[in-house]
């Protein structure tokens, strides 16, 4: 089994107001694609209730940084009480949604993701030694890199949501 290390605590974005779920989804996809991350949509859930739609998204974009380790950003987005609204911005009609959004981003480093060192206990022991003493400095650097990436994505999403707030309040 590969080993998962959480390197950045969940960065949480909470927002209530106007937004577009499709725009946020596309923003995450575009951002990850531009940086050569592989897309993986773990779950899409939509529940239609009386007070609006409840949407849950679990996305896990990942990027192999070597044959041994890869980065994963675990994105859990839940949108609740989502209702469709039509808003006029600068005389143009826009289809948006209103509701509340909670997005959490967690950075995870997965080591030995191909399970190359799993074949025997001897190899597993060697891997532990390798992780503890040889790869440690490198892991620190990688953890910092991933933390920065998670922060960058968080800033991108926050900026997008704040932009919505700003445009609508004009």
């Amino acid at each position: 089994m590969s080993e998962k290390n959480i390197v950045s605590d969940a960065e949480i974005i909470s927002y209530e107001g106007y937004f577009s779920v499709a725009d946020i989804y596309n923003l995450i996809n575009r951002w990850t694609a531009e940086r050569s991350w592989d897309k993986y949509d773990k779950l899409h859930e939509v529940k239609i209730k009386e007070d609006g739609r409840h949407i849950d998204l679990y996305l896990e974009p990942n990027k192999g940084i070597s044959d041994y380790a890869k980065f994963i950003i675990e994105i859990k987005a839940s949108f609740s009480k989502v209702t469709d609204v039509e808003v006029e911005v600068d005389g143009k009609k826009m289809h948006l949604q209103h509701g509340s959004a909670k997005i959490s981003l967690t950075g995870v480093i997965v080591s030995d993701y191909e399970g190359d060192w799993e074949s025997s206990p001897k190899f597993q022991f060697l891997r532990t030694i390798y992780d503890k003493f040889v790869y440690r400095e490198h892991t620190k650097d990688m953890a910092q890199m991933l933390k920065d990436e998670v922060k960058r994505l968080k800033n991108e999403i926050t900026a997008h949501l704040n932009m919505n707030r700003h445009i609508i309040s004009k």
């Binding site: 989804y25 949509d41 679990y58 989502v82 949604q97």
Partner: protein, 166 residues
């Protein structure tokens, strides 16, 4: 025969609410026809109890790309608590369904689907050398295509269901 390689399996797409079942069915078949895939409905189960329907349906779509590679897409849909309801949309009365559904899509490639290299150990060794030589090219040419198509089908289904992340 051949060697089946799993390329991509999507996470579950779950939906709870109103949906147009015949519309969804024809959208999936329509996509497969557009992609020139052979359509097989491998499972259709309908169980009605206490006015609710539980439905399970599986499709397999195939396409022989060349003498070596065959693309395989599998779509599994499971519906719980389905109930027929009448709704008025733009002054038009429509019969649709309400329930919970889950869609899973899987894409794989059957390499050497004709078993051309399976006539002995010698030919199997040749096949493995050939695979190793063309590994990256094969990834870009075939594996990427299958993965993209899996996401394309997922997008089509999301659009049909009116999900926001289409």
């Amino acid at each position: 025969m051949g060697e089946k390689i799993d390329i991509h399996k999507t996470g579950p797409l779950t939906y709870s609410g109103y949906y147009d079942w015949p519309g969804l069915y024809s959208t999936i078949i329509g996509w497969a026809k557009k992609e020139r895939l052979k359509v097989f409905e491998t499972l259709y189960k309908d169980k009605i109890s206490k006015g609710f329907t539980e439905r399970e349906i599986e499709f397999t779509f195939l396409r022989k790309v060349d003498r070596m590679n065959k693309y395989i897409y599998k779509v599994a849909i499971k519906i719980w608590d389905a109930q027929k309801v009448e709704v008025t949309q733009n002054g038009e009365v429509k019969k649709i369904e309400r329930g919970r559904l889950r869609v899973l899509i899987e894409g794989s490639i059957d390499r050497d689907h004709q078993g051309l290299f399976e006539k002995g150990v010698f030919w199997l060794t040749i096949r493995n050398i050939f695979y190793r030589m063309r590994h990256w090219q094969w990834l870009f040419e075939h594996a990427d295509t299958v993965q993209t198509k899996v996401y394309e089908l997922q997008k089509v289904i999301k659009e049909q269901l009116g999900m926001d992340t289409k």
